[in-house]
Amino acid sequence: MTSLSVLVQHGRYSEAWSQLLDESKTVSDHAQFLALVRQRDRLAKTAPRPPAPRTVRLALLGGATTETLEGPLALAIEATGLGCEIRRGQYNAFAQEILDPDSPLLASPLDVAVLLVTPANIPTWPEPGDDLARVQQIVDEVCGYWVDLCKRLHERAGCEVVLNNFHPLPTRPMGTAGTRLPWDRNNFLRRLNVALGDRLPPYLHLNDVDALAARHGLFRWFDERYWYHAKQPVSFECLVPFVRSVARIVGALFGVTGKCLVVDLDNTLWGGVVGDDGYEGIVIGEGDPVGEAFKTFQEYLFRLKQRGVLLAVASKNDENNALSVFANRPEMVLKREDFVAFKANWEPKPLNLRAIAAELNIGLNSLVFVDDNPVERDQVRQALPEVAVVELTTDPADYPRLLDEAGLFEITTLSGEDQQRSQQYEQNVRREALRQSVGDYRAYLGTLEQKAVLAPFEDRYLDRITQLVNKSNQFNLTTLRLTRSEVEARMQDLGRVCVYVRLADRFGDNGLISVVCGVREDTRLVIDEWLMSCRVLSRGVEQLVCNHLADRARAWGLASIEGLYRPTAKNALVREHYAGLGFTLVEQSADGTTRWSLDIARFEPFDTPIQLVKDY
């Protein structure tokens, strides 16, 4: 690897940036991380950071010092692939900054506000002797105080808000008796943490500092000396896990998160090599310590699958050998059906990873790769830098924790769609089988018995719509990312058309798969957001939406629909989208952006193989 200073000397700035950001993903030592923060600042003075898909405007407010956190947080966010501009509030001035209508901190638009609080900011504590009812009342008051402040912050700045919960106090003056006293301060903090989680509105996200401090050890997490000196809320030693946790939440809010976990088999999912040892010889399940470790790892992967992470296999194996383990070892927690793609062959792993991404219609940067073999990991890192590769030890007992610590599948809310996703991909495999048997594509679409709901945005789907807006890359005409608050504002804007599409067919529900927004400008309906899940490509949804937009334009007495295509690295798929719908090209900019127009008077509605329904 060429050193950063050499890259800078030779003016290879974009390489310097990507090397710096790559390095910052793996460094865990705080001193090394702070050194990278300083290098980042210096590099930024010489060469601006290469453009990111979205720059997050973030305000950092705190009941503690936020000065030392600003640089590290910016670097941690940039390491996720997002750009970042941070504004910092004054020490312990968060209440004024939120409530003062002239507060400069909130004067210009914001995407995210991070409100950092510590037990020292808790306005009321229980008095010794307070009974459970009184303590519960104080919990409600304190909880209401924070949630209300965050609500004002959200309403004023129209932003997502990240608050944190509280780590325990480092002393226990009541000893073990504290566990039975509701007014004990640590007992109170436990109740407060749970109550905060129970009362989170959709725009408020809780950084689980309680869990982070437990993971790293409270005595390491919090260093009293630097609290007394500088009101430092987290020790330097634990600065990195703290900022990474915030960065992951921010990343998840803007769609930077893994979708599919690709695992190797031999010595990754089970102990041993099935090709050598046979299915009867591999180690998995109770009765063997190593078998238990692999079983625990499979259980962890199964939980990821249940919450919407897609699982896939890439293994150098004879396919029949690989499948024999699933067929003949009942101790296997994961079954063949749990995987949406299964590549057991002798091709290089990067090739299989590419094939998996193509099959599932997702970007390579949505893949996370887990393999016990460091050579395979290195090969994937070299060939496919977009794929996140998890560094493992040689002990399977470490696997669940290492994958979990990498935090590559962060989510801040769980939608119904997430839990059904894996099933939907399986159904797609069956649809594909039917398509191959039917032959004629139009005839095939007819046999699918498709039903769709096309309706204006609704509160209950805002989470899913926001998720789709921030995650879709390929079938996405403008790649205009929006926060939940922005989506909500659009929903309420009467000058806009904002619709979603849900699609079902005889194999099951595809869920909410398309989002389109248009705004009325003079005599035109200008479409600034049109995206769709690639799972339902070429099923007639595009034409269905186009018919609807034409109806709306006509009802408003408009003359035309104007469509915009803004090219990115990933959306070449829809370059000719508007041409395919009969729009004419009216303008092409130097950056490849194209503008298209459809004359309403001359538009003939498409005949689509989809039945429109109120609900299904």
């Binding site: 705080h30 210096r42 000196h229």
Partner: protein, 86 residues
């Protein structure tokens, strides 16, 4: 007895790392005023880095009382010899 020369070499490296300036030199009488960017937060970063580099721990009072780099070297030497704060 701790070797103060070794401490000087180690502490100079700490300063160079923290200030990200490989050419930075310090003398016993160097104070925060003499080094650009040596503010109160940098002071803490320096002490945290020095604690890690020498495997010692400074008391709360010592963190505030240090007046120059020479005192820092003396403090580290005392700590390495097992001494308490003065």
């Amino acid at each position: 007895m701790a070797d103060k020369n070794q401490i000087w070499i180690g502490l100079t490296r700490v300063f160079q790392d923290v200030f990200d300036d490989p050419g930075l030199t310090v003398t016993p009488t160097t104070t925060a005023h003499d080094v650009e960017g040596w503010d109160s937060l940098m002071h803490i970063q320096l002490l945290v880095a020095a604690e890690a580099a020498f495997g010692v721990r400074f008391n709360t009072g010592e963190v505030a009382a240090l007046k120059n780099v020479g005192e820092m070297v003396d403090l580290i030497a005392r700590r390495l010899d097992g001494g308490r704060a003065s």
